[in-house]
């Protein structure tokens, strides 16, 4: 009995924290927009927001995969290397097969992502390698493979057919394709996480793996699945990345894994697993995108980008702890009184 009330209070605590966090980020975004637009009038234009959305779209796609992994108390540090590898292989394929339909190229990227994510999942579930170590290892393996397949060479714009380049650059009904892809991914995974059995099982595994196992949830299979899904998304993002920038390089997206973790953590995804929402991740990614865009507009040196990212990850996790301690105390008081 005691433990069940404890569980409910814990859950309401998490949702309260998430609530505070989402309004908090939203308020912060509004404040940031106000300040930056005072400094730079260009900031509040339609073109600039279009740019922010375009820059954030790939981040949103990969961060959603990262979020599902973090929900199960794991982490995927190999996303950026996987993205580069899938982008490189697909980029080289389209440069030698100009007739390849762009959608087939996209599917090919997803297929590569599934293989890479599946390998991560196998290491973690079958090999019992801790997620951080498994994906730190594949981070360098996938990056090294990107170099090996390309021989260190680039695939540049002239070597790609226009149809492929338009995949990420075209618009459909005035909406840029890239933004459309991100929106579709967000909607699909919002539905998946909230309204399907497997989606709910992901949360269950993260909030209490032992209880989930007792309840008959195939924990290992769920963990394997989230790595594969992360692979699907970074594989897809790799193709979009190459298409958007019209170049595939072996050092593409170096360090991008940090941004995906940052977007998730800023968006209120709990690093201890079990809680976090897709709208939160969208807000987290947007905030990160707006900050980076603002740094450029206010003419702060691009060298600040990395430091700001690190600072914001720390601020997000520290504020999480402070908020949840506050709320915990308030809840205890309320129950006592």
């Amino acid at each position: 009995m005691a433990s069940s009330t404890d569980q409910t209070s814990r859950r309401s605590l998490f949702s309260l924290v998430a609530g505070v966090r989402e309004t908090g980020i939203f308020a912060f975004i509004v404040l940031l927009i106000a300040i930056v637009s005072l400094r730079s009038p260009y900031f509040l234009t339609v073109e600039n927001f279009r740019d922010i959305l375009l820059d954030t779209a790939v981040l949103i796609i990969v961060a959603i995969g990262q979020t599902m992994v973090i929900l199960t108390r794991s982490i995927d540090l190999s996303v950026a290397s996987g993205l580069a590898l899938s982008g490189m292989v697909v980029g080289m394929t389209v440069s030698s097969h100009w007739g390849l339909p762009p959608l087939v190229a996209l599917l090919m990227g997803i297929g590569i992502g599934i293989a890479l994510g599946g390998f991560n999942g196998l290491l973690v579930t079958k090999g019992h390698v801790p997620p951080i170590i498994a994906t730190l290892g594949t981070l360098s393996i996938y990056r090294g493979l990107t170099f090996v397949v390309s021989g260190g060479a680039w695939v540049d714009a002239a070597e790609m057919p226009d149809s492929f380049k338009w995949l990420a650059r075209d618009t459909t009904l005035w909406v840029p394709n890239l933004v459309l892809f991100a929106a579709i991914v967000a909607i699909v995974f919002y539905y998946f996480l909230n309204h399907t059995r497997t989606g709910r099982e992901i949360y269950a595994v993260g909030s209490n793996p032992d209880a989930a196992r007792v309840a008959g949830i195939p924990v290992d299979r769920i963990v394997f699945l989230v790595y594969v899904l992360s692979g699907v998304l970074f594989g897809m993002a790799g193709v979009l990345w190459v298409s958007r920038y019209a170049s595939a390089q072996s050092d593409s997206a170096m360090g991008f894994e940090l941004q995906t973790v940052a977007a998730a953590v800023i968006g209120g995804v709990n690093i201890f697993g079990g809680s976090g929402t897709i709208p939160g991740v969208l807000l987290g990614s947007l905030l990160l995108g707006i900050i980076i865009n603002a740094l450029n507009l206010v003419r702060i040196s691009p060298f600040w980008k990395l430091a700001v990212q690190g600072l914001i990850i720390l601020l997000a996790v520290v504020s999480d702890v402070l908020i949840s301690r506050r709320l915990q105390r308030a809840l205890t008081l309320r129950r006592a009184g």
Binding site: H128, I133, R143, S250, F303, L306, V308, G310, L314
Partner: protein, 330 residues
Amino acid sequence: MIFKRGTSQRRLTLVATFLRWEWLLILLFAAAFIVNALLSPYFLDTRNLFDMTFIFMEKSIIALPMAFIIISGNIDLSVASTLAMSAVLMATRFQAGWNIWLAVLFGLAVGALGGLLNGMMVAKMRLPSLVVTLGTYALYRGIAFVVLGDRAVTGFPSQFLHLGQGYVGDTPVPVPLVIFAVLAILFVLLLHRSTFGRFVYAMGNNEEACRYSGVAVDRIKILLFTLSGLMSALAAIFLTARFNSTRPNIAAGFELEVITAVLLGGVSIFGGEGTMPGVVLALFLIGLVSRGMRLKNIAGEIQTIVIGSLLILAILLPQLLRRLTPRVRA
């Protein structure tokens, strides 16, 4: 009854000793040594053998506290970034006209401070070290970039360069090797012969139990991370002195190799297990392997594949070994 138990246990310890990870490492080390000797006729030269250690002493210095941190059940991903931050701040102070040794002290203080901040957040806020040091991994490297941009600092005085490139007197023994040896002995004593070391193991096995037994868990954590920051700063000095230059992207990816060496040395990623001699062996093994790859002109990117695979194998192999052990015992 008791006797019987004793003998069977002794037999078990014998088997365990035989299967000890360190022996496997020694075997691998011997194999790598022979391969290297076959690859190059100059390899077995005394001077060459000593010179070989230059390239991995910085990583080795960082690996010593990293072993402590992982045994205590934590991790520090920020070491290479801490190294870059203190190297850059030290170099810019020197450039601003400070005495080089004052700048060195400043660099050491910066590193210790960076580690202290990690430790405070891990211990006082009860945050997972993985996330904290992932944040400072970006923050500290970012600070290095903010301070120095895409420039580099060179032109250090020769007494300073001696630290990273010099030899002890007329012997072929490199200065960094000697300093590493002294530090390694200190760390071995600290881990295997002191109460502090016992507490570190105990924390890795059961932190809650330690807390309730009155072990100053928080203080030990803060101390460990500060030590890690300090050693990273020390490595920054050796690396800067060896290259006679520092730039913000210095030592990128070092954390991977350091953690790989520690885990390959038999330290359990789950904490509570591992020995210092194992870690030192693994450091020299990795040094030999990368030396051999360099000799064969294998590209750095492929070397990272090898290191990444080693990291994963370092976890997979002991599991396989453990699965085999009961059969041997039976």
